[in-house]
């Protein structure tokens, strides 16, 4: 099997998640240990001026991580991954993760790929997370 050779400008395989749900925010709070009530308690979030509960930024980062590990496959490794949280995600939002290759290097039997990655929400296609990731995949 010949591995895919990445070129600058290539898109990663996008990932569209099911709409974010309030139950999911409760589950992520429990699983991550982040119990900030702005993610789970409607009254609290309204009082904080947010108009309702918002998703954990780290949940959206987790979606982008899923796109990356799907792309990388089991023989590859994620080397670095960072994002800025640029807009809020609310229950009902549909998040699509995507990425574009910026640089490809060859090192010791691996291709080392650096890409811009992001997540955007629908409706509106507003970017909610913006970042970069570097991964490596075996050349053969």
């Amino acid at each position: 099997m010949t591995a895919k050779r990445y070129q600058p400008g290539d898109h990663l395989t996008p990932l569209t998640k099911p709409p974010v749900t309030k139950i999911q925010l409760v589950k992520y709070s429990g699983a991550s240990g982040d119990f900030n009530p702005i993610h789970t308690v409607e009254e609290f979030a309204k009082e904080a001026g947010l108009g309702g509960v918002i998703a954990h930024g780290m949940l959206t980062m987790g979606f982008v991580a899923q796109m990356l590990t799907d792309e990388i496959g089991e023989q590859g490794d994620l080397l670095s991954f960072g994002v800025r949280f640029v807009d809020m995600v609310r229950p009902g939002d549909i998040i699509t993760c995507d990425g574009v290759v910026q640089e490809v290097k060859e090192e010791e039997g691996y291709q080392v790929v650096t890409c811009d990655v992001w997540a955007q929400k629908s409706p509106g296609d507003v970017r909610v997370v913006q970042g970069t990731a570097t991964f490596r995949k075996p050349l053969a």
């Binding site: 999911q24 992520y28 991550s32 780290m58 979606f63 590990t69 994620l78 080397l79 960072g82």
Partner: protein, 151 residues
């Protein structure tokens, strides 16, 4: 806490805390994200992979206990998570015994459109029992002392 209070704590590391990576915790975390990757869920599958055990997703280290920085009192309101980044050195696998610690490594005050902001950069470190670095992370948290905003 004010800028000067944070500045006094720069570079003070928490005492590393032992964290045992549980397979149930990995499954629940992947489940909350909605990531069906069999490496996170299926022990038999993972056993036949090059990892040999269930693998933790890339942001799983968020769940660890990183201990306490003596003197640091983080506000619980008016915080916004601005940035998060990871450098991965070794995979985190179910059954791993890891030591996690963190420090405040940068602090700045800025005047923003919505008032005064304090930018706090925390550096997180995860090491294995052999003392090898497994993962490093940096988190930027924006704190508005006058309130407003959310994490």
């Amino acid at each position: 806490m004010e800028l000067a209070d944070f500045e006094r704590l720069l570079g003070v590391w928490s005492k590393p805390v032992k964290n045992e990576v549980e397979k149930g915790a990995i499954r629940k975390f992947a489940d909350a994200i909605g990531d069906p990757n069999p490496l996170y869920h299926d022990e038999t599958y993972a056993a036949q992979s090059r990892f040999g055990r269930l693998v933790a997703p890339p942001t799983f280290s968020r769940t660890f206990d990183y201990g306490v920085i003596p003197g640091l009192e983080m506000p619980t309101e008016g915080l916004i998570h601005g940035e998060m980044s990871y450098t991965y050195h070794k995979p985190i696998l179910a059954g791993d015994v890891l030591y996690a610690s963190f420090a405040l490594t940068d602090v700045k005050e800025r005047a923003g459109k919505l008032g005064r902001m304090i930018l706090l950069v925390f550096t997180y470190k995860v090491e294995n029992e052999a003392g090898e670095i497994v993962q490093e992370a940096k988190s930027t948290v924006i704190y508005r002392p006058e309130g407003g905003g959310a994490k």
